[in-house]
C-alpha cells in the first residue's frame, strides 16, 4: 500500500512514504518530516492552528489532502519562515510584543499574517482582524497579535 510522495517543504525537496494519498498535509509535515510549527487543532479547517503557506497562500494543512499538492508547489511552514536567530518580520514582532500566551495558535496567526502582508503592505486594524477572523485563540492574545502584525507591517 505504501506509496512515495514528493514534496517541496521549506525549500527542500523531500520524498516520504505514505499509505493514503488522502492523508492531510498536516500529518506529513508533523509525522513524516518532524516539523513542529503546523499544529493539530481541529482537523476541520475551523481554527487555523495548522496553517502553512502553499505557493505563498495561507492554507489549512489539516484539510489539505496530499493528493492535492504536487512537488512543484512550495510548502512553507513556520520553521521555514524564520529562525530564532533570523526571524521573519512577523515573528520578530511577535517576540518584541510578547504576543503569545500558550502559543498553540500562534503558528496560524503568524502564517496567516505573513500571507496577508504579501498582498496588503499596510493593513489597517480592521484588515488584520478580518484576515484573522477564522483563526481562533482561546487564551485571549488577540490584542497583542493585532499590534504585532501592525508592527511587522511597519518593519516589512
Amino acid at each position: 500500500m505504501a506509496q512515495r510522495k514528493s514534496l517541496t517543504v521549506n525549500g527542500r525537496s523531500v520524498t516520504i512514504d505514505i499509505d493514503d494519498p488522502e492523508m492531510p498535509l498536516l500529518y506529513a509535515l508533523r509525522d513524516n518530516l518532524a516539523l513542529k510549527g503546523p499544529r493539530f487543532g481541529c482537523g476541520l479547517g475551523q481554527c487555523g492552528a495548522c496553517t502553512v503557506h502553499v505557493d505563498g497562500k495561507a492554507v489549512r494543512s489539516c484539510v489539505t489532502p496530499l493528493s492535492s499538492i504536487n512537488a512543484r508547489q512550495k510548502v512553507i511552514t513556520l520553521e521555514g519562515l524564520g529562525t530564532p536567530q533570523r526571524p521573519h518580520p512577523v515573528q520578530k514582532a511577535f517576540i518584541e510584543l510578547q504576543a503569545a500566551q500558550c502559543g498553540y495558535c500562534i503558528n496560524g496567526m503568524i502564517m496567516e499574517s505573513a500571507a496577508l502582508l504579501t498582498t496588503n503592505k499596510k493593513p489597517s486594524d480592521a484588515d488584520i482582524k478580518n484576515a484573522l477572523a477564522n483563526n481562533l485563540c482561546r487564551c485571549g492574545t488577540h490584542v497583542r497579535i493585532v499590534a504585532a502584525v501592525k508592527r511587522a507591517a511597519g518593519a516589512a
Binding site: 500500500m1 505504501a2 505514505i18 499509505d19 493514503d20 492523508m23 492531510p24 500529518y27 508533523r30 509525522d31 516539523l35 513542529k36 510549527g37 503546523p38 499544529r39 493539530f40 487543532g41 481541529c42 482537523g43 476541520l44 475551523q46 481554527c47 492552528a49 511552514t77 513556520l78 520553521e79 519562515l81 524564520g82 529562525t83 530564532p84 526571524p87 515573528q91 511577535f94 517576540i95 510578547q98 503569545a100 500566551q101 500558550c102 502559543g103 498553540y104 500562534i106 503568524i110 480592521a126 488584520i128 482582524k129 478580518n130 484573522l132 477572523a133 483563526n135 481562533l136 485563540c137 482561546r138 487564551c139 485571549g140 492574545t141 488577540h142 490584542v143 497583542r144 497579535i145 493585532v146
Partner: protein, 740 residues
C-alpha cells in the same frame, strides 16, 4: 543508587543554621531523579534548587507553566534572590521524580505559593552561600556583595560554583518561617517586564509541546468514545478496520475502546472506520429545562459562607423595599485550541506518563490506583500543552495512553480529536443563583440573602474521574470535583444582615471540573450584577454605592475603585442613563469589583458596550481595569494574562454555551461552540497597582471574575434591560428588550 557524601563540610551559619555540603557530583538531572537521590519534599532546599559546577542554577517547581508565563516569572524570583543572571537559571517543572509536590497548578497560586516557596529556598541557599563565602574569604558577611553568582569583598571573590557547584545544600526549609528575603527596594529582576523564555521558540516552531513529543518505538493511539455518555459497548467489528495499513490492535476493555497503529493517520483512519455497537443511553436532562433540573437536584449538604445579623428579620421588617433576582450561568467547555495529548510507556513493570497534566503528583496516584501499581513505579512528567484553563482532558488522555500502552506493550501516544475534547473534557457546571435584598426608605441595604446551586465537592481531594478508567471499570473512585466553587459566594460588602448559602448538589449533568475562575466567576457575576440592581434601585452611582459598603479598613479595595474612576473617566450618576439613549445602537458602561476569595487580589472594571437593538448583538468596545495583586513579578506577563482573562471571559459571557441532547454533547466543534474572534475584540486599558512590599498574589483568575457582571451592568446602563442568563446571545437580548 543514592549519592553518598564522601565528606561533609560542616559550616556554622548564623544562629542554629548548620549546612552540610556533600561532595558527590550532581548527575544528569533525569538520571539523578531516576536514582531517587534528589529530595522532593517541601522542607529541603535541595528539593527546589541545585547549582552545578559551572554555576548554572536549576530550579525545581511542582507548579507548571500552562501558557501563562510562570516559567519566566519563577526564574525571575530565583534569579533575584540569588543574584544570578536569568540566563543561568534552568527550570524543571512537573516531574514527580524531580520536583516537589506544590499542589495542582490552579487557583492563581503559582506565584503566590510556588513562587514564594522558591523564593524561600533561594533566600535560604543564598544565606548559606554567603556564610560559607565569608568563611573562605575571611571577611564579615555584611561586607559581601553578590553579582551574577560571584560573591566578593573588595578584591576577594568566590563564585557560587566554587562554593557549592555540584554539591547539595542539605538545608532544611520552613515555609511558615521563611528566610529573610531581599529588600524589594533592591530588586532588579523582580518587577521588570522580562521577556518570556519560551516565546522565541514558540513563534518559530522550535518549541516541543506534548503534542510534539515522541519516544523511540512509539505507536499512535486514538480513542473511540461512546456515542452516549453512559452507553455500554455491545460489540466491536474488528473486520471493519482490517484493511487499515499499520493497524496494530483494537483495544477493548469494558466500555473503553481504542485503536493503536503504526502511524498517526493510521490510528485516525482506524478510529473513524471501526464499527462498534453501543446501547442506548439518555441520562442527561433536557437542555431547555436545565435550570429546573438544577433547582430540583437533591442537596448533598448546605454550606453557609456568610452569616451576619438576622436576614429573615431584615426582610420582614416594616417599610423595607424587597428586591429579588435569579441569575444563571451556562455549562462551558475549556475549549483548548490543541486537543489533549499524552504519551505513556510501560517498562519493567513501571509506567512513565508524559502529559500536560496540571497536577502530575496527583496524576501519579491516580494512574497507580488505576493499574494497581505502587506510586513509586509511576513517573509523571509534564510537557506544556495548549492552554487548558483548568482541568481539561489532559489527564484523561494520560490514562488513555497508559491503557493503550499496556495493551500493546509499546509506548503509545494518544491525541484526542476535536470532538473528543469538546465532547469529553470535564465541564464547568451550570450555576443557578437566587438573590434577595431589603432596602430601607433611605436606599440603605438592610439585608442580603443569596443561594447558590452548585455541585458538591468530594471532601479532602480534587480528583476528576479519569474517563478511560470509568469506561474500563478500573479502580479510581467516583468523586465529584468542580473545585472550590463556593468561593466568592460571600460578599465584600458590609451590610447589617447577610446570609449567603451554598446548596451543594448531589450531582450535575456532566463530569465537572474547574475552568478558569471556577465558582468565583459565576458567584461574582451574580453578586456584582445584583448590587448593581440595588444601586439602581437606590438611584445611586454604582461605584459610590459599592464604596459605601466596603469595609473602610480595606484601603486597597477602595484605592482600586477610586483609581478606576480616574482611569475610566467615570461620570458619577445612577444607572440606567437618564433620558435613555435612543436609536438602534445603545451605548453604556458598567462597573464591577472583586476582592478575590475575600482575602487577596483586588480588581475593578468598567466595561463599555454597544447594544444593537435590532439584532440583539452586544459588542464590548472598551475595558478599563485596575488591578492590585500585591508585589508584581513580571508586569508584562501580568498584562498579557489580564488581556487573556478579559477576552476569554467576554467570549464566555456573550457566546459560549455547551449544547447537548439527552445522550451526549452536541457542540462537538468550533462551529457549534463558537468563541470570540478578532473582529469583536475590545480595546483594553489596564492600570496595575504594584505593591512591592506586599506578598505577591495570584493573577491568573481574579480579573476574569468581574467581566460578566460589568457587561451585564453596562447593558442595563445602555438599555435599562437587565440580563441575568449567561450567555447573552442576541436572541436573549432581543427577548429581554422586547419585554422592556
Amino acid at each position: 543508587m543514592n549519592i553518598i557524601p564522601s565528606r561533609r563540610d560542616m559550616l556554622k551559619g548564623g544562629g542554629a543554621l548548620v549546612v552540610s555540603f556533600s561532595l558527590a557530583p550532581l548527575a544528569d538531572a533525569q538520571a539523578q531523579g531516576a536514582a531517587g537521590a534528589k529530595p522532593v519534599v517541601l522542607t529541603e532546599v535541595d528539593s527546589f534548587l541545585a547549582i552545578d559546577a559551572r554555576g548554572t542554577v536549576t530550579v525545581y517547581s511542582g507548579k507548571v507553566d500552562l501558557g501563562t508565563g510562570t516559567d519566566t516569572a519563577l526564574r525571575q524570583i530565583a534569579a533575584e534572590e540569588l543574584d544570578v543572571a536569568l540566563s543561568k537559571i534552568n527550570l524543571v517543572t512537573g516531574d514527580t521524580t524531580l520536583t516537589p509536590d506544590q499542589g495542582k497548578t490552579w487557583g492563581s497560586l503559582t506565584i503566590q505559593v510556588a513562587g514564594v516557596q522558591i523564593r524561600n529556598a533561594a533566600a535560604t541557599a543564598r544565606g548559606a552561600l554567603l556564610d560559607e563565602a565569608a568563611k573562605r574569604l575571611n571577611v564579615k558577611r555584611e561586607d559581601l556583595k553578590v553579582a551574577d553568582g560571584v560573591v566578593s569583598a573588595g578584591n576577594k571573590r568566590v563564585s557560587y560554583a566554587q562554593l557549592i557547584g555540584g554539591k547539595t545544600f542539605a538545608l532544611k526549609l520552613d515555609h511558615t518561617k521563611p528566610a529573610q528575603a531581599k529588600d524589594p527596594a533592591t530588586h532588579t529582576v523582580v518587577g521588570r517586564p522580562v521577556p518570556r523564555v519560551d516565546i522565541p521558540d514558540k513563534v518559530t516552531g522550535r518549541f516541543t509541546y506534548i503534542q510534539d513529543f515522541r519516544v523511540p518505538g512509539m505507536l499512535h493511539g486514538r480513542v473511540v468514545r461512546p456515542p452516549a455518555i453512559g452507553a455500554t459497548l455491545e460489540g466491536v467489528d474488528e473486520a471493519s478496520v482490517k484493511d487499515v495499513p499499520g493497524l496494530v490492535k483494537v483495544v477493548r476493555e469494558g466500555n473503553f475502546l481504542g485503536v493503536v497503529a503504526q502511524s498517526e493517520w493510521g490510528a485516525i483512519s482506524a478510529a473513524r472506520k471501526l464499527k462498534a455497537t453501543w446501547s442506548k443511553w439518555e441520562g442527561l436532562p433536557e437542555q431547555s429545562k436545565l435550570y429546573e433540573y438544577v433547582r430540583a437536584t437533591k442537596v448533598f449538604k448546605e454550606e453557609v459562607t456568610g452569616n451576619v445579623g438576622d436576614t429573615a428579620a431584615a426582610m420582614a421588617a416594616d417599610g423595607v423595599r424587597k428586591l429579588a433576582a435569579t441569575y444563571d450561568f451556562a455549562i462551558h467547555t475549556h475549549g483548548s485550541i490543541g486537543p489533549s495529548c499524552a504519551v505513556a510507556e510501560f517498562k519493567d513493570g513501571k509506567l512513565t506518563s508524559w502529559s500536560a497534566s496540571q497536577a502530575t503528583h496527583d496524576l501519579r496516584a491516580r494512574l497507580a490506583a488505576m493499574f494497581g501499581l505502587p506510586a513509586d513505579n509511576v513517573r509523571c512528567i509534564y510537557l506544556e500543552g495548549s492552554g487548558c484553563y483548568g482541568r481539561n482532558g489532559h489527564e484523561d488522555a494520560a490514562a488513555d495512553a497508559a491503557l493503550l500502552a499496556k495493551a500493546v506493550g509499546r509506548p503509545v501516544r494518544v491525541q484526542w480529536s476535536r470532538a473528543d475534547e469538546h465532547g469529553w473534557d470535564p465541564k464547568g457546571p451550570p450555576t443557578l443563583i437566587d438573590l434577595r435584598a431589603a432596602m430601607d426608605a433611605d436606599g440603605t441595604i438592610t439585608g442580603w440573602e443569596s443561594e447558590f446551586f452548585i455541585p458538591q465537592q468530594t471532601a479532602g481531594r480534587f480528583w476528576v474521574p479519569l474517563t478511560s478508567a470509568t469506561l474500563a471499570g478500573l479502580p479510581q473512585g467516583d468523586d465529584i470535583a468542580p473545585g472550590n466553587v463556593f468561593q466568592n459566594s460571600a460578599i465584600p460588602y458590609k451590610f447589617a444582615n447577610v446570609k449567603t448559602v451554598c446548596h451543594r448538589l448531589e450531582t450535575t449533568p456532566f463530569r465537572p471540573s474547574w475552568i478558569r475562575t471556577p465558582g468565583r466567576l459565576q458567584n461574582t457575576y451574580a453578586n456584582e450584577c445584583f448590587i448593581d440592581e440595588l444601586a439602581a434601585a437606590a438611584k445611586a452611582d454604582p461605584i459610590d454605592f459599592r464604596l459605601k459598603y466596603i469595609d473602610p479598613a480595606d484601603k486597597r479595595g477602595i484605592e482600586v475603585l477610586n483609581r478606576l474612576k480616574a482611569l475610566a473617566k467615570w461620570q458619577t450618576g445612577p444607572s440606567p442613563q437618564p433620558g435613555g439613549a435612543s436609536g438602534p445602537l445603545a451605548k453604556g458602561r458598567g462597573v464591577a469589583y472583586v476582592k478575590y476569595e475575600l482575602v487577596r487580589t483586588y480588581v475593578g472594571i468598567v466595561a463599555d458596550v454597544e447594544v444593537d437593538r435590532n439584532s440583539g448583538v452586544i459588542k464590548v468596545t472598551h475595558i478599563y481595569l485596575t488591578h492590585d495583586c500585591g508585589q508584581i513579578i513580571n508586569p508584562d506577563g501580568l498584562r498579557n494574562q489580564i488581556d487573556g482573562n478579559m477576552l476569554q471571559t467576554i467570549s464566555r459571557t456573550l457566546i459560549e454555551e455547551l449544547k447537548f441532547d439527552r445522550s451526549m454533547v452536541t457542540s462537538l466543534d468550533w462551529a457549534s461552540y463558537p468563541i470570540l474572534t478578532f473582529p469583536d475584540i475590545p480595546e483594553i486599558t489596564v492600570e496595575l497597582i504594584n505593591q512591592p512590599n506586599a506578598p505577591p498574589w495570584g493573577a491568573g483568575e481574579p480579573s476574569a471574575s468581574v467581566v460578566p457582571s460589568a457587561i451585564s451592568n453596562a447593558v442595563f446602563n445602555a438599555t435599562g434591560v437587565r440580563l441575568r442568563s449567561i450567555p447573552y446571545t442576541p436572541g436573549k437580548v432581543k427577548a429581554a428588550m422586547g419585554g422592556a
